[in-house]
Symmetry: C2
Subunit: 341 residues, 2 copies
């Protein structure tokens, strides 16, 4: 007797129906309500059906059901600038207050000037210098508190909403649908692991221990009160982008996922790695082709080029060749955000 049948039978007893509704969750509602009918929605439904059908050839035991999701551009908006980079820039004044000598040094002087055009020209070296002073050097709890506070007050420049309101409703439904079918859902992001872990549980229902991201080392030490604490060190342990994604998955999960979702060239190796496993595997890419409801960028399919979340034509072609499914935001999503109503 499978779990769904048992729950269905129990649900017929009124005294338990409330309890069971909370257990069964999204299993009873129509899944993927914000998706239009089409090949993308069908690919997800077919994959989940095949891997959870105990009698079928594609059955995957529950303990092996792992699905990984890129964050920036896959689960939430990454344009015109990664939210974490906005956080770093917003932290610079507080850092400079504590270390006034930085006020006269680049790239901090430019950040303090507020000159967005000059900031847009920052080199990778500039960005690393900003990341080093805003993401490392503090106890892990202080960092988490700073991120939490920033998330409450910061607003994105287009919708004037909290960044955590800018998650894609159709992808939230994919997360729920996978979990309702026994999958553990993981975020695998080029963004900072410690950053995303602050809100992942509240925003995506993904606990901190299921967030894999770029990570610096920490250093164990003792405070003046004798209590041990961990300090974030300027030492990169994992650059969780491109090849770092499958490497990070091996380090942090230790199993090859059955399904993976991404949206840019940084997700390519993860999707290859997932799809190369035996049995049923699902690799999908979100294509941002909806300038009206969100953004349109590629340069695949003639869309405007973008430094943030680059989706090349070569990636699009590889998707066709390897049997990955490309999600058209414009065609496949009934709505983009929950706040659309």
């Amino acid at each position: 007797m499978n779990r769904r049948v048992v729950l269905g039978a129990l649900g017929a007893l009124p005294v338990f129906s409330g309890f069971l509704a909370s257990v069964a969750g999204a299993q009873t509602a129509a899944p993927l309500a914000s998706w239009n009918e089409g090949p993308a929605k069908q690919a997800i439904l077919d994959f989940v059906a095949a891997t959870t059908d105990r009698a079928g050839p594609g059955f995957v035991p529950p303990e092996e059901r792992i699905a990984t999701f890129d964050q920036d551009g896959t689960l939430w908006v990454e344009q015109p600038m990664y939210p974490q980079l906005v956080f770093c820039l917003d932290q610079v004044p507080a850092v400079v207050k504590a270390r006034p000598e930085l006020a006269r040094a680049e790239p901090f002087r430019t950040v303090l000037s507020g000159d967005r055009a000059a900031m847009a020209k920052f080199t990778m070296k500039d960005l690393i210098a900003i990341a080093a002073v805003t993401l490392t050097g503090m106890p892990v709890e202080i960092f988490a508190a700073d991120v939490k506070q920033w998330l409450e007050t910061a607003r994105d420049p287009r919708w004037n909403r909290k960044f955590t309101d800018l998650t894609y409703q159709p992808m939230q439904e994919v997360l729920q649908y996978f979990r309702a079918n026994g999958y553990k859902t993981y975020i695998v992001t080029g963004g900072g692991q410690d950053f995303v872990r602050v809100y992942s549980e509240r925003v995506y229902g993904i606990p901190p221990e299921q967030v894999v991201g770029s990570a610096v080392g920490t250093k164990f030490g003792y405070g003046r009160d004798g209590k041990p604490f961990l300090t974030k060190e300027p030492k990169l342990l994992l650059n969780d982008d491109h090849a770092g994604k499958p490497e990070g998955i091996h380090l942090m999960i230790g199993r090859r996922p059955r399904a993976a979702f991404g949206n840019s060239v940084g997700d390519r190796e993860m999707l290859e790695y997932v799809k190369a496993g035996e049995g049923h595997r699902l690799s999908m890419l979100v294509l941002h082709d909806d300038r009206e409801r969100e953004y349109a960028y590629g340069p695949a399919q003639g869309l405007p080029a973008s430094r943030v979340g680059t989706f090349t034509q070569a990636l699009f072609d590889e998707a066709q060749q390897r049997g990955w499914t490309v999600i058209s935001m414009k065609k496949d999503w009934k709505r983009v955000f929950a706040f659309e109503g």
Copy 2:
């Protein structure tokens, strides 16, 4: 209504009792059956009761219930030599066959000679050289297959049993008891993460993604068939011992555990870190004081000194001062191994 009450009510309906027994698991049986009554057993029972009592001041929400367990000497036998080190030594002939130039070089020549007395004198440099050639340089799947095969054939020198038969039954019951009460159980070991992940699910009910251990980096590449694969690299990412344990916990879990179990100076920082968190916390140490049923080593409490699993008097004293509970294998455990019957 809490889960236990609901399950109890449902269990009264005969049609569901079998299904519910599988859900409730160890909750219905008397917990910790292989433990003698005493302060150690009581500390575990009290901690779990306090942190799962929704009406009490020590309640911990289910998502924050994390318990971490050292492996060597805490969950299974580590004497006279860590099982993983036996694995490494046993792999040397196969490595030398593939790389014959190593046969004349130390420390490999000594390993091939079978001279146990000489091997006992190996320096850390020798051991690192052996680890480098037996734990790195191969695809992750090949390594896992080698470990799996070795576990089937290797036998420990005292009981002549598979190493995976030498887990401590009382600690298996602690793992089950914590899980039955909503805790996620993790292994946090100085041993190799990739090594322990091969058998953790089968032997402890702990899935690979809940094993934190010493870890080398991997390198993503493509085979001649175009398929991507990961190779274990001789580059240490995490030395998961001493301060590396809380650092590894932050990297891989991202939450401070509520309970931790260890048995040696290598676990000290983890136990300090856990106990320093707010609210109810449990830190426990297994003291090997049972030469007849297992081994006796310290040098705490006048037990013989040991290079493997050192438990100093300073650690014993710190346990008293900080409110950690020391488990006496001799007094607290009714039986040590499941095979005792």
